[in-house]
Structures are given as C-alpha cells and as structure tokens.
C-alpha cells in the first residue's frame, strides 16, 4: 500500500490556539480540514508537513449566519452540508457545485475551505514519488522543469476546485485570520494564475468564512465537464452569473451585468471579461449567447495535463458556456 508518512497531529479548539500552533510548528506545519486533498498529497510526498493542525475542532468555523447583505458560511462546513442545507437554497449554484464534487464519501469529509484552497492539479504532479522520479520531477515539486511546457518559466497546474469558480462568479468575499489579524478579500483576488503560488493567502493564514452576497436580482449556474458522472475532477467548469435588469418594460429581459468564470483551464478560476461584455445590456438571445460562448472560447487555453485531449477541452468551452447561459435564460422565463 501507499502509506502516509508519520507526522504529528494537533487539534486546536480555537482559532488563537490554531495560529499559535502554526507559529510553533513553523514552515513544517500545515492546516488540515477534511484532509481529502492534503492526505493523498502527503502519500505522494507533494506536501511533507511534520505537524498537521486540524481545524475541525474549532466550532466557529462550522457556523452559518444570515446577514442583511447576505450569508456568512464557516469554512469547515462539509461539501455535503453545502449541498443539502436549506440555508443554501438561494445559492443553488453553490450547492450544485458542491454536490458535483467527487463522491458522497469525499463530500462527507471534504470542506468548503479545503475546496477553495485546493492544491492545483497536473497529471505530471499528482503521481507517486517514484513515478515523478522516473521523469526527473517537475518544478512544482522537487524538480526544475515544467513537463507540460518545457520552455515555460512557470507551472501550469490546473485550478480544479468546483466551488471556487462559483464564488468568483457570484462575487463572494473570503474572511481570513492570520498572525497579523483579520482581513477580507474578494474571491477573485484570492487566486493567482500560477500553478505553484496559486493562492494569495499566506501559509499561516486561516480561511475563516465565506461571505455570500444577498441573493436578490441575480442568478447563477454551474456546469461541470468530466469523464464520469461521479468521482472525477472537472476538466472544465463554467460558472455563469447574471444580474437581470429590473423593471424593464420590454418583453425580452435584459442583462444588466454578467460574469463568466472558467474552472479547470488555468491555474486560477479564470474570469472571462469579454464574454460578460458580450452580454451586458442585451437580452439572452441565441446570438448574444453564441457571441459570449465564442468570447469565452478564445482565451480558454487548457494545457495537456488533465484527462481528455486539450483541443477538445478548449472546444467544449463554447458548448458549456452556451449551455450554462441557456439554462439561465430558461430559468428566468
């Protein structure tokens, strides 16, 4: 069997205690929530923490709270919670994305926070130590070169979270706490287009909560492409958000604002501004949908490091953006 290496496991009961433990452990310490990403990675020696600090004993991180301007969700809620709790019914796209993650077993363990901080993926990287040794490693771990793009100075590992693109699309904000206090960042600014430094979060910061905006006047959907109906990471995720124009007298409703965010094609949830621009101030007609889908297709640049052929994945951007927008249109009428 592939074994987990030995490590020290700590279970703080409060955020202060967790931050102190992390300070004491230094760079060899890591936070863990559900562990469904970190533990498999440790088996393959991607991350090699000597001390693992669990956030699951901190009750504050599992709270949900309704606010005037939205809902605050604790980062340690499980994906199953997100997909079934009534509190998230107005956030259907969030619940859908959570429900589409992996398998029921993993959703019972995996958390929202872990999903939003998910390590980027690449099929040159998500391999055992021995396998990686056979290709002489890559720059994301233990090596110097990128095997996907050998002349590239950067890593192109793929942002593979299902929930993150939805958070960026609906304009959620993340609440963080670290040794230097608390801060709030918009979801879009939490991510970097870099396979190695994919988060703007410092390693000693804890993602405490996610602030979902009030659910009025907008609608969002999430469509996921993967090989099988269960278990698989997205090779393409499309989160589409529309703010409908209110009070327009015309029969055909108009788009006030839109955001189209792609998962699984870059090292971060990639917002396609051109696609949104094609929709603003217009009805969701077949023509505008096609224009937005075309606009999303062009900058979508998957690399050869996930399941499926990259050119097919790129072509699917058009189809999936179109289908997501068609669903939004159907839901509005």
């Amino acid at each position: 069997m592939l074994r987990l290496p030995s490590f020290r496991y700590l279970q703080p009961a409060s955020l202060t205690e967790a931050l102190r433990m992390k300070r004491d452990a230094g760079p060899d310490g890591m936070f863990v929530a559900g562990g469904t990403d970190l533990y498999p990675n440790m088996k393959r020696r991607h991350q090699e923490p000597r001390t693992v600090i669990s956030l699951m004993g901190i009750s504050d991180l599992r709270a949900t709270e309704g606010r005037k301007d939205g809902t605050t969700v604790g980062s340690c809620l499980t994906l199953r919670d997100l997909s079934v709790l009534p509190a998230f019914r107005p956030y259907a796209a969030v619940a859908t994305a959570a429900r589409l993650v992996s398998t029921p077993l993993l959703r019972n363990m995996g958390t929202l926070g872990g999903n939003l901080c998910l390590d980027t993926r690449c099929n040159y990287y998500n391999q055992s130590y021995e396998w990686r040794k056979s290709i002489d490693f890559c720059m994301k771990k233990d090596g110097k070169i990128c095997w996907v793009a050998p002349s590239s100075p950067r890593c192109w590992a793929v942002s593979s979270s299902d929930v993150a693109p939805v958070m960026v699309a609906i304009g959620a904000e993340y609440g963080l706490i670290g040794p230097h206090g608390e801060r709030v960042v918009p979801a879009a600014r939490f991510y970097n287009n870099d396979g190695i430094n994919y988060l703007t979060k410092q390693t000693d910061e804890i993602l405490v909560e996610v602030r979902l905006p009030a659910s009025n006047g907008w609608d969002a959907v999430y469509h996921k492409l993967r090989r099988r109906g269960s278990f698989d990471f997205p090779v393409l995720g499309v989160a589409a958000w529309i703010n409908w124009q209110s009070g327009a007298g015309s029969r055909e409703p108009l788009v006030n604002d839109a955001r189209i965010v792609l998962g699984g094609v870059a090292s971060y949830p990639q917002e396609i501004a051109e696609a949104a621009a094609a929709l603003r101030g217009k009805p969701l007609s077949d023509e505008t949908i096609a224009a937005a889908a075309e606009a999303a297709y062009r900058p979508s640049k998957p690399m050869d490091n996930t399941d499926f052929d990259l050119s097919w994945r790129k072509q699917m951007t058009r189809v999936y953006v179109k289908r997501a927008l068609e669903e939004l249109r159907a839901r509005h009428t």
């Binding site: 592939l2 074994r3 290496p5 998500n126 396998w131 269960s230 278990f231 052929d309």
Partner: protein, 805 residues
C-alpha cells in the same frame, strides 16, 4: 437410476454462493489480511528507466538502515521464469537490464512497511539508458537495440502465418471485397484487490506461499524452478481473489521475491502491491492493430478472409504467444469462412507487459470482425442481423482451421436480442443522435491444451465421504470471485442428493488438492465440473451398492435426494445419506473417490493448432443502444440487450452475474479505458491510478436485459459451457455499430472517446469520410505460411510442405 433433468434439485436454480455470507460480511480473508508473528514487510525498488542496462546497484546504505533485514538484487535470483515454456524471459529482479518503468530491480524486507519504503530511497542504481520503443510500429521499424535477445526477428517476439485453403482465390470469388483497418487500445483488468503474497519458510525446510493468484499450480512450478527447491517442499495456497480477470494468472516477481526473502531471513515476509504497482504487473489487453479483407457473395455468404494483427506486447513474453494466436483463431467459429489466412505478429516494447485479460486475445479481432461485418451488410443492403443469420456456422461441424464446433446457439441468441430490442423498428430509424448496433461473439470453454506440454488431466478432484454424512471436495481450482468453489458444491450435491451448503470445499492448495490448471480460459466450470461430476458419480456408485444390499432394493432403483438414499419406487424405503456412508465404510473401508478431466483431442495437427480448440464454444449476441451528443461527441449507453448460449446454467444467478459484469467491463473498454503512456517522456504510464485510469462507475453502467439460451453441450457438465468471458466480446463492436447508426460516423478503434466522435463528425460535415481509425498497417517480414488444406479440400488437419509459387 439417473434422474431426468426435470428431477434436478440444484442444477439450474439460483442458489447463493457458498461463500456469499463471508464475502458480504467482510470475513473472507484475502492475502493482505494474513499476518504472522515476526512478519516482515517487503517493498520492491522499481526501474525509473524504460530501457537501460543496469551498471551497478549499491544497497549498502539500505542494508545499514535500522529495521532492514535483507535486500535482494537480481544476482540473488538468476534463474529466469515465465508462464509459457517458450517465453522464460522474466527475472524476479532484473539482472542486467530493465525493460520498462516499473520493472523491479531490488527487494527489501524490513520490520515495517515504512522502513522498507525508506530503504528503497537508499539504494542507488546506476543505469546506462538504451533507446526505448513505445509502440508496436516503433518496434517493427527498429530491430535494434533488441529488448530481448530472443524472438522471431529484431523486436518482433512472434510471427505467425497460417493459411487454410487458398484465401486469396476465395476472396476473389466474392461479389464484394471489403478491406478495413482497426485498432484496439490496451487496457487493464483493474481488480479491486491489489496483488498480495505472504511467504513462510519453516525450520524443516518447507516453503509456503499464500498469494492472490489465479494459477497456484503454475506459481508452484515457477517457485520450485527459480528457488531450486524440490516441488514437494513448496506449497502454494491461492487465497480468495478479490477479482482477477486474467491479471493474476502469471507467476509474478513479487511472489518469488517474498519467498526468497523468507528463506533468507527465516521470518514470514509479506508484500501488498500499491495500485500503481498493479498497473506495472499489468498482463492486460494487448494494443492491437488489425487489417482484414473479406470476399462476400451478394447473398451474404463469405468466400474467404485474410486477417492480420500486430500486437504490442510490452516488455515480456507472458502469455503473448498464445494471445497472438488467439487474435486469429476464433474468427471461424461464428460465421462460415471457407478459406482463411491469418498473419499475426507480436512486438516487444518498453511498457508494462501485456497478457491475458478477459477474452484473451479475442476481443480485439472480434471488434474488428463485427464492425467489418456491419459495414459489409450496409454495402450489400442487408440487415446486419439477417446477414449474420445467413452465414452461421452449423452445429457439430469442423471449421477451416480445424476447430470442432459442438452445440451452437448463436442463431437463437440473435433472434432473442432482435426481438427484445425491437431491432426491426429501431435500426436506421431512430432520430439523429440515437442508434442501435448489433454484434455477436463466441468464446472457448477452456483451452484444449495445457500451458506446458503434458498428457495428464487438466483438472482433478478428490472426494471424501465421512461417516458423519459430511462430504469434502478437494480440487486445485481457484475461486476468483466467479464462484467456482460453489460450482463444485452444487455438482456434488446434485449427484449425492445432499445440501450444497453442507459440503466442505477445499481448493487451490498444492499440498491438499489435486492439480487444476487454474482459473483462466473459462475452463473451470467445464473442466473441474466434469472432474467433480465423475468423482461424485463414483462415490454414488459405491454408496448405492452397499445401501442397496441393506435396503434389499436393486441398485439401479436407488435415488439420492434430500439427504437420503431410497427406493425410487417406494420412497419410504430408504436410509439417511450418513447411514449409507456408514454401510459402505463398514463393508469396504474409507469412502473416497477421484475424478479427473482431460479435453478431447483436437482435430488440428499443424503447428499452432494448439490455440483455439476447446471442448465447447459459448455464443453471445448483443444489441447496444446509444445516445450521442453531436455537440460534444459524448456517447452514453442507456441499454444493452444480450443473449448468451451457456449450454446449461448450473446457477442462473451467477451466470447472469458474469454476463452483467462482462458488459460493465466491455463498456469501459468501449468508451474510456486506455493504458496510456507518455512516449515522449521516458515512456511512463500516464495515469497509474484508480482516479485517472478511467473506468466506468455505477453511474455509467447501462440497463442490461439478459437472455440465457440453453442448448446443453454434450461435453459440459450437465451441458454447461462458459460464461465468464464470452459476453464481454460483443459489447465494444455493438457500441461502435450503434454510434454509426446514431450519427453516421465510424470509429474504427476503441475506446470510442468524445474527442474521436467529434473529430469524425467534423470530418463528415466537411464532406470527408466520417471516420476515425488507423490509416495503415506496417510492412512486416512475415514467414513462409504454414499451409493447411481445409476439411472440405480433403485436409486431415496437417500442414503440407509447399513451395511458394
């Protein structure tokens, strides 16, 4: 008094398996569940180069690590082995060369798995890389450097050329001559249980190995050979297999390594492979390129066929020579092919070794043949079901390549699925995007010849009747989940009239059980079933003689049922089964019998005639329905109708289980499974994990409507034929044919992925041929053909000496 079929109590009913409760409650002990005091853990260091000379190995730092008890390298196990006598090309640990990434070079035994793993990092191996080959075409094009220093030519392991009648002249007689190229990608078995083995060396010099193997007899032979031990001092016990599918049919390097480590350390040694390592053991489906040319009359009658296959064998021989013959053998047992030419080649490449996977060497040509026939039907304007029905091989006949067909239920199978699927209303009539496809197949019920030449039985059974009334069956057969232990119990219970759940079944232990060759080639129900039948009938005879005396009833009037032995004319006049055993034991001593089975002699006498003959052939017909999304190319299969001619089902539930399992496996091969390697990156396996090697989940599984066709075969126990492999074969071509019906494109290779479907649709939209598939077949230095006149040319099964004109 032999009972009429209608009197049978057990055969044909749907009983639960005798080990079902243990399996579902998790109490079955698999190899990895075994633990012994002072046990050590073994890990293998594997090659990080696809093809390289091993210059030196330094294990001193590993040996110095606390907890490490022994480290082995190739020189400790210099004797080669391999499943086939003609391909003894493996070493437990590579001696001077590594041939693929994953080839083991050193073995460590340590007090914990963690220590053993840490020790691997401390072994340094110096390699001198050699040029590597990642495809059969590359191996054909480059005879040097040779991966092995044996084989028919350069990097071609095996070359076969067999001609039965003048095939070219036959083809020329066709009104239509059709030529097609196909490719079948390699895929692997994916058993849920990873291979595991434990070895114990006793102080009195005996070795015991528990292993998740399908072939304990062959492992026994390999261990004795490599370890230079008298076979009498080696005991191999096959633990219950958590799935095998052919992936546990070779003797493996890890089995030999733990045995040697146990001998060296005097402590029990265990190994459990990781999932990644199971991908390196492989022995799965050979990637196969195929070319076929057939002549056909307007009526649909085939006039001749020429079939070529090129197999990518990976790094070792394994069963590959047999696999290569199998890609040409069974074309003739479904449709009448009066003249037939087969050319097959197997290449060595620097990838995990291929071997037997469910269907062994026949799914690839079956895919080619069934899609080819679909195209021929369209060309002739015939319904493909009708074309097949017109060309069926008759029962009790001899084929052009001397295979003796007995019972033959394919016609009934076709009729069943045609009716069940409402084929006539659907074929070529469904809306765009939806389609149906038909394909058929046949498979052997056990190979006619053993793996190493001998003229002994293929399966043996010993039966012990205890004075308590208990019965124990001993047989070398191995239950890999298919239920072979249960089959032994059902057959003995039927003959002796006792409860199958009262029977003790002892199997797969070379010290305790007579030889059975193993769970491969769909041989077990037929062969060990016949052996059990013989042993049980002999026991019944002994018991009947003595019971008859005591009951004062003529022997031939006695019946055995419900745990009693009684007068068939007056059921009250009888005794319990236990009393019958006691009567016999008192009169004649301990009651024990044996039974054995040897297949009938095959009709072919030419070189290569050993692959293909079988006591009986099973048949299946399958209709697949598909939905194709024209925007994405994604294919879904909502329903499959399948009819299988099993001769006679001993247990209808396990038969249907095998049919459904085959369809599940077939869907994976049809739609997604792929042993992908990065040719440009050191030939690493691209995706050696359960997550990224895509195999269907329950959500991808289709509805299955199964029809069992029962036409008892005289060679099978109670008429039974195989079901473990045959029903897999038609799934892939049925799906391919259905995709064509749905969207009018031909995907002439599996897996049929969305990328390929979309590409073909784009080509079609541009007015090009709507096809994705191989474009050419390389030139191969075929040998002079072995020419065998067909039976209808007066042939006697022997080859003729002939000079090529």
């Amino acid at each position: 008094m032999a009972r009429k079929p209608s009197d049978r109590r057990i055969i044909g009913t749907a009983l639960r398996k005798i080990d079902a409760v243990a399996k579902v409650t998790g109490t079955t002990r698999f190899a990895d569940d075994l633990a012994f005091p002072r046990m050590l853990y073994c890990k293998l260091l594997r090659a990080t180069h696809p093809h390289a000379r091993v210059v030196s190995i330094d294990a001193s730092a590993a040996r110095a690590l606390d907890g490490v008890q022994a480290v082995l390298t190739g020189k400790d196990l210099p004797i080669p082995f391999g499943i086939l006598p003609v391909s003894q090309d493996e070493h437990a640990l590579c001696v001077d060369k590594v041939r693929f990434i994953g080839d083991p070079v050193a073995a460590v035994a340590a007090t914990s798995e963690e220590t053993a793993t840490a020790a691997l990092d401390r072994i340094t191996v110096a390699y001198e890389p050699l040029r590597s080959f990642d495809s059969a075409e590359a191996a054909v094009a480059n005879p040097e450097p040779r991966i092995h220093d044996y084989g028919d030519s350069g990097n071609l392991h095996k070359l076969i050329d067999l001609e039965f009648g003048d095939a070219a002249a036959g083809i020329a007689e066709g009104d239509v001559v059709r030529e097609d190229l196909f490719f079948f990608e390699g895929n692997t078995h994916l058993p849920m249980e990873q291979h595991a083995a434990v070895a114990v060396w006793s102080p009195d010099g005996k070795l015991t190995l528990w292993s998740s193997t399908q072939t304990p007899h062959y492992v026994h032979r390999a261990l004795a050979k490599v370890l230079e031990l008298p076979p009498a001092r080696v005991r191999v016990i096959a633990t219950p297999n958590g799935g095998g599918f052919g992936g546990k049919s070779d003797p493996f390097n890890h089995e030999i390594a733990v045995a040697k480590l146990a001998m060296l350390t005097g402590r029990p040694v265990k190994i459990t492979l990781t999932r990644e390592e199971v991908f390196y053991c492989h022995r799965g489906r050979h990637p196969t390129l195929m070319w076929v040319r057939t002549g056909v009359k307007k009526s649909g009658a085939i006039t001749g066929m020429h079939f070529r296959s090129l197999l990518d064998g990976g790094a070792y021989g394994s069963y590959g020579v047999a696999s290569t013959y199998y890609t040409g053998a069974l074309q003739t047992v479904t449709y009448n092919i009066p003249r037939y030419h087969f050319q097959g080649a197997r290449a060595f490449t620097n990838k995990a070794p291929c071997g037997p996977k469910r269907g062994h060497g026949t799914p690839q040509p079956r895919f080619a043949l069934e899609v080819h026939v679909d195209k021929i039907a369209e060309q002739l304007g015939l319904d493909p079901a009708e074309l097949r029905l017109r060309t069926l091989v008759p029962p009790n006949s001899l084929t052009a390549n001397y295979l003796r067909v007995g019972s033959m239920g394919l016609g009934r199978c076709i009729e069943k699925v045609i009716a069940g699927s409402e084929w006539k209303k659907r074929f070529r009539q469904l809306p765009e995007g939806r389609g149906v496809g038909l394909a058929c197949s046949s498979y052997i019920s056990g190979a006619g010849l053993p793996i190493y030449w001998n003229n002994m039985p293929h399966s043996g059974v010993q039966l012990k009747c205890d004075r308590s009334g208990g019965v124990t069956v001993f047989c070398g057969s191995t239950d890999i989940g298919q239920g072979s232990d249960s089959i032994l119990a059902y057959i003995v219970a039927e003959i002796l009239g006792i409860d199958p759940f009262d029977i003790a079944v002892v199997t797969a232990d070379t010290d305790l059980t007579p030889v059975d060759l193993g769970s491969y080639s769909s041989r077990v129900t037929l062969m060990s079933g016949n052996a059990a039948l013989q042993a049980a009938e002999r026991a019944r005879q002994i018991l009947a003689v003595h019971a008859a005396k005591q009951l004062e009833v003529p022997v031939d009037r006695l019946q055995f049922a419900d745990g009693r032995v009684f007068d068939g004319n007056d059921s009250k006049r009888g005794m319990s089964f236990a009393d019958a055993v006691q009567a016999a034991e008192a009169a004649a001593g301990t009651v024990g019998t044996v039974g054995s089975y040897t297949p009938p002699r095959s009709a072919g006498r030419y070189r290569g005639a050993g692959v293909g003959p079988s006591p009986a052939y099973s048949y299946s017909a399958c209709v697949a329905e598909v939905d194709v999304d024209p925007e994405t190319g994604i294919v879904r299969v909502p329903t499959i109708w399948i009819a299988h001619d099993v001769g006679r089902s001993i247990n209808a539930a396990t038969v249907i289980g095998q049919v459904e399992g085959s369809i599940y496996m077939g869907l994976g091969e049809a739609l997604m499974e792929e042993m992908a390697y990065r040719g440009n990156r050191n030939v690493v396996h691209k995706i050696p994990s359960l997550l990224e090697y895509k195999s269907p989940t329950t959500l991808e599984m289709c509805d299955v409507i199964t029809y069992l066709v029962e036409d008892p075969d005289p060679n099978g126990p109670f008429g039974a034929k195989e079901v473990g492999q045959g029903p897999l074969l038609p799934v892939m071509p049925a799906v391919a044919n259905a995709v064509y019906d749905a969207v009018g494109v031909r995907i002439d290779e599996v897996p049929i992925t969305p990328e390929k479907v979309l590409k073909a649709l784009r080509r079609k939209a541009k007015g090009e041929a709507g096809r994705v598939g191989p474009e050419s077949f390389p030139d191969i230095p075929w040998p002079e053909p072995t020419r065998v006149p067909t039976p209808w040319e007066g042939g006697d099964g022997k080859a003729v000496e002939q000079v090529r004109a």
